[in-house]
């Protein structure tokens, strides 16, 4: 067995002033193997972006983060200081966010920004680094890269900026790319192109990918494994190929049913999820999905379900686990 690229155990993140902190991520385990593409899906406020940001060591100073274990390619990050984090992750962990404008410096030329990575972490000269930048822009299919490296971010279209962000991540040879809603602001046509690019990187360079998105169909297409988040917890984990056939958590199923598809009946109302996710400031008793769940039972409001391994996935749902055990027992009896 190879070592995972990224491993985080019992991740907790809280925001707010001391004494009045609100925990928004409640004990998430995240493990990404080398060369794997993992998807993380959930709605706004589910904690998916905070989890990805925390695991990438990019949380703002106001956030408080704790883990039981946190390793990147075997290096312990939990006890590392800022400098050690930089050494461990610099050039090895690339990130792409929804709005590339917020991660690119509007006042500097694209080539100069791309060069920073290899000048700081790779000891390349200015000239060598710029040549690398041209090469990487070409690799993400940006036309006339020799000219484009001298331009500013505002001269790029939205899709080009996102490709430039990926190109920046490729300046070194990253072992993990964390992409947080990388195509949400883009047209579907550009989205398809960017996803193709991410898949290609994964295949040719063996870069593992953590793709965070609210779009469950996008995750299903690109990823091999899916983590479903709700109210700051992972409620289900399963192979992407089993999403439509074997999703066990009622939230996962509801999420898929709520999205219109090309074969959705037009004469019937769309499936909805009643109510709203819990307020992170209010303590939750039992299962956080219970107030909205079609299968809810009394115990769900009292005992919080833990992730239980079933077949090739895991699910945090009392009813789903019981149903599985009952089915197993029936099979054995027969």
């Amino acid at each position: 067995m190879t070592e995972p690229v990224l491993e985080v155990r019992d991740l907790r993140v809280a925001f707010g002033p001391p004494g009045r902190e609100v925990e928004v991520v409640h004990g998430v385990d995240l493990c990404i193997d080398a060369g794997e593409i993992v998807g993380m899906v959930g709605e706004s406020g589910s904690g998916k972006s905070v989890t990805a940001t925390a695991a990438s060591a990019l949380l703002p100073g106001a956030a408080r983060m704790s883990t039981a274990a946190w390793r990147f390619e075997g290096t312990d990050l939990a006890s590392a200081d800022r400098r050690q984090l930089g050494d461990a992750l610099g050039g090895k962990l690339a990130v792409v966010f929804q709005d590339p404008m917020s991660s690119l410096n509007p006042a500097r030329r694209v080539g100069a920004q791309m060069s920073d990575v290899v000048r700081v972490h790779g000891g390349r000269s200015r000239r060598e680094a710029l040549a690398d930048a041209v090469d990487r822009l070409r690799r993400v299919r940006i036309a006339s890269p020799e000219r484009r490296v001298h331009e500013h971010p505002h001269q790029f279209s939205g899709g080009m900026r996102q490709r430039a962000m990926i190109a920046m991540g490729l300046m070194a040879t990253p072992s993990l790319l964390v992409a947080d809603e990388p195509t949400t602001a883009l047209d579907v046509t550009v989205q398809a192109e960017i996803m193709e690019l991410i898949r290609e990187l994964n295949e040719t360079m063996g870069t593992a990918v953590l793709l965070v998105s609210h779009n469950i169909a996008l995750i299903a297409e690109v990823c091999s494994r899916v983590l479903v988040m709700y109210a700051g917890r992972i409620v289900e984990e399963l192979p992407a190929s089993e999403l439509t056939s074997a999703a066990r958590h009622p939230y996962t199923r509801a999420l898929m049913d709520a999205v219109p598809r090309f074969d959705t009946s037009r004469s019937e109302p769309l499936a909805t999820i009643p109510g709203a996710p819990p307020d992170p400031a209010e303590p939750v008793a039992g299962c956080p999905f219970a107030p909205r769940c079609p299968w809810v039972e009394d115990r769900c409001r009292v005992v919080e379900p833990q992730l239980v391994r079933i077949g090739s996935g895991s699910v945090a749902c009392h009813v789903a686990v019981d149903a599985h055990e009952a089915a197993e027992k029936e099979a054995v009896d027969r």
Binding site: E43, S44, R141, S157, G158, G159, M160, D187, V188, T189, V190, Q191, A192, E193, M195, E196, H214, N215, I216, A217, L218, A220, E221, L243, T244, A254, L255, M256, A258, V259, P260, R261, F262, T264, R266, P269, L270, A271, T272, I273, A276
Partner: protein, 315 residues
């Protein structure tokens, strides 16, 4: 037709380029027409031109319920404003942050003819109820509401003027999928209940198929194909439509994409000669021989029930 648009050509003030050129369509009473296309295809511009937010050119004509309301024409603005209301993607931007939502709805209700301020205020509980919000919500400010609730308020505000037509511009684009489903259901219910006519814009093809009776595909400021949603997505005839559909992520995708588009649409000032789509076309002159016609000749939108503007439509 409740809404009829003929030869609509529009440009932004101070520019020399037509963003939308020679577009014609009709939407029957109680029907929904969807406009789809990439950013820059002109779909939002077209909607804004219909309500008079842009300069119209040439023989452009807009009719609402048989009445000529062409913006800039003989003072039909007031009529237009009452009959046609818009709902936008970001409800926070269209609601005054320091006005209670009930007051915002009452203000809009005051536009309807023969209504006093007191009458308008009395409409608020009915309008909130219509969009599935409790009456108490009228006392809140926009920031106290969720995204879905704010979009319902924006819809209530649009309905307050008793319009016949709603222009829906990406109304679910910034909502979570579970909230999106409730808003789409609401729009369908309101249409049945009030006999409203919709002109909807979205980049999400599956949402449009669900909401609309008919869909027009826009590219470079013109309509490239138009058909009933089911027909369009079962058997697209324009390669652009096929490429758009193919790009949509699917839960149940079994085959590889066959129409992956490379590059992005050109801006209005640099559109291609002939068919504006030809430089990116997956079956166009760049990749197939004998298709020089696409470079030389602008294809017309031809056909009755399923018109398409392509020299070599897909079978």
């Amino acid at each position: 037709m409740m809404l009829a648009v003929e030869h609509l050509t529009a440009r932004y003030p101070g520019t020399e380029v037509d963003v939308v050129s020679d577009v014609s369509f009709g939407v029957p009473v109680g029907g929904t027409l969807g406009l789809v296309g990439e950013s820059g295809s002109g779909k939002s511009t077209l909607a804004r031109a219909v309500v008079g937010l842009l300069e119209l050119r040439g023989p452009s004509r807009v009719e609402v319920d048989g009445m000529d309301v062409t913006p800039g024409g003989p003072a039909e603005r007031k009529h237009l404003r009452r009959r046609v209301q818009m709902v936008f993607q970001d409800p926070a931007a269209s609601l005054h942050p320091r006005m209670r939502v009930g007051a915002a709805i009452a203000e809009a209700a005051g536009v309807a003819p023969g209504r006093s301020r007191a009458d308008a205020a009395q409409q608020v509980p009915r309008l909130l109820d219509l969009v599935g919000l409790s009456k108490g919500l009228g006392e809140r400010y926009p920031f106290e509401l969720s995204g879905g609730q704010r979009q319902r308020v924006a819809i209530a505000r649009a309905l307050a003027a008793e319009p016949r037509i709603l222009l829906l511009d990406e109304v679910t684009a910034s909502l979570d999928v579970s909230v999106q489903a409730t808003v789409l259901n609401l729009l369908k219910d309101l249409q049945t209940e009030l006999g409203l006519t919709y002109l909807a814009i979205s980049h999400d093809l599956a949402v449009m198929r669900y909401l609309c009776d008919e869909i027009a595909v826009m590219e470079s400021g013109t309509i490239k194909e138009r058909a009933a949603g089911d027909v369009l997505f079962e058997s697209p005839r324009h390669p652009y439509t096929a490429a758009l559909m193919d790009a949509v992520p699917r839960l149940d995708r079994t085959e590889e994409r066959s129409f992956l588009l490379v590059g992005e649409p050109r801006d209005a000032a640099h559109r291609a000669r002939g068919c504006s789509f030809h430089p990116r076309c997956p079956v166009g002159p760049e990749v197939r021989e004998g298709r020089s016609r696409c470079v030389d000749e602008v294809p017309e939108l031809l056909g009755d029930s399923h018109p398409v503007a392509c020299h070599f439509p897909l079978a």
